[in-house]
Symmetry: C2
Subunit: 220 residues, 2 copies
Amino acid sequence: MAPVKVFGLALTNAARVMVCLEEVGAEYEVVNMDLQAMEHKSPEHLARNPFGQIPAFQDGDVVLFESRAICKYVLRKYKSAEADLLREGDLKDAAMVDVWTEVEAHTYHPAISPIVYECLLKPTMLGIPTNDKVVEESLEKLKKVLDVYEARLANHKYLAGDFVSFADINHFPYTFPFMATPHASLFDSYPNVKAWWERLMARPSMNKLGADMAAAIKAA
Amino acid sequence: MAPVKVFGLALTNAARVMVCLEEVGAEYEVVNMDLQAMEHKSPEHLARNPFGQIPAFQDGDVVLFESRAICKYVLRKYKSAEADLLREGDLKDAAMVDVWTEVEAHTYHPAISPIVYECLLKPTMLGIPTNDKVVEESLEKLKKVLDVYEARLANHKYLAGDFVSFADINHFPYTFPFMATPHASLFDSYPNVKAWWERLMARPSMNKLGADMAAAIKAA
């Protein structure tokens, strides 16, 4: 059987999908998209994702987009006793995974992603100067989020409880590059968050994707 | 057994939870939160949701926040042959439900919600004038989203496929009040979207919550 395909780069949201594929040990092929050649707006890609964004995903006749939806598909399809990151067999565990997955999407991501864009992607990949006002406002938002995370992680080893889940690894795509910005030391003020992040980065999946992402940023 | 509790008003994101509870026929109690008295920032509510937002939800010792996570809990717990709105038993169907649920969260919602705030909640409930520039920019974004929806709904009765799902009813909390703004006629240019919306509004759950939401806006 042909391996599943991820359309995109080992950067931002596509990296979320790749971390999940690594977690479950699935074979996959990355189809690099040339964003400067506008390949993501080609008719071929619009058939995969009508909004013309990356990542997209293909598994035979199943064609998906939206990174968090793709991740759930991957985590369900390749679920095992060792890799059950959604815990859908347990009503309460699954709910806690969902709650903190939604927190990442609606609260953490909007605070951290502008800092990554402004401090890393804009100057490095796009040659555009950083907007300091956006960075400052986003740092203020991020501190409020990290206050909540710090309290949560004082009582639980991971966000959804004392088990690692999609809610945690879902934080990889922007937290990893944030650690390459001049603001990385912010996490030093949040020891529980910092220990959580180090625990996650010790996972082979995140370690591997971290190396791939660093290479993708360097090559850009 | 005590009915489950929803903390919030039959408005915006809390209405998403209530529609799901109606869909599955669950008994529930709405605990109204007095937002002007800052009840959502009280220690009691912060114990339910550390970010101090509504809705929150309680089912015995299960306490949840984030409306879409609460909805999934409700739809799993009360799932039946007649009401299976997540379709988690089918890998492909579940993935399509997730894809279009994520589209609502990341693409549709950011386009439509500012229009509802600016044209309805601000002048009616908060006594603040509408920012026309925000409305115009959001309308342009919404048109691009509706172009994609129109094409999707030309080939499928509902967003995830030919079955109604959470991906559809998830659109209720902002689409219903949008229809009370001066821009409601925008949907006339999208006949497939309009027919989809009318099909959804004919559902008893959405019909009931529509009446509750209209009353909540009027009372505010």
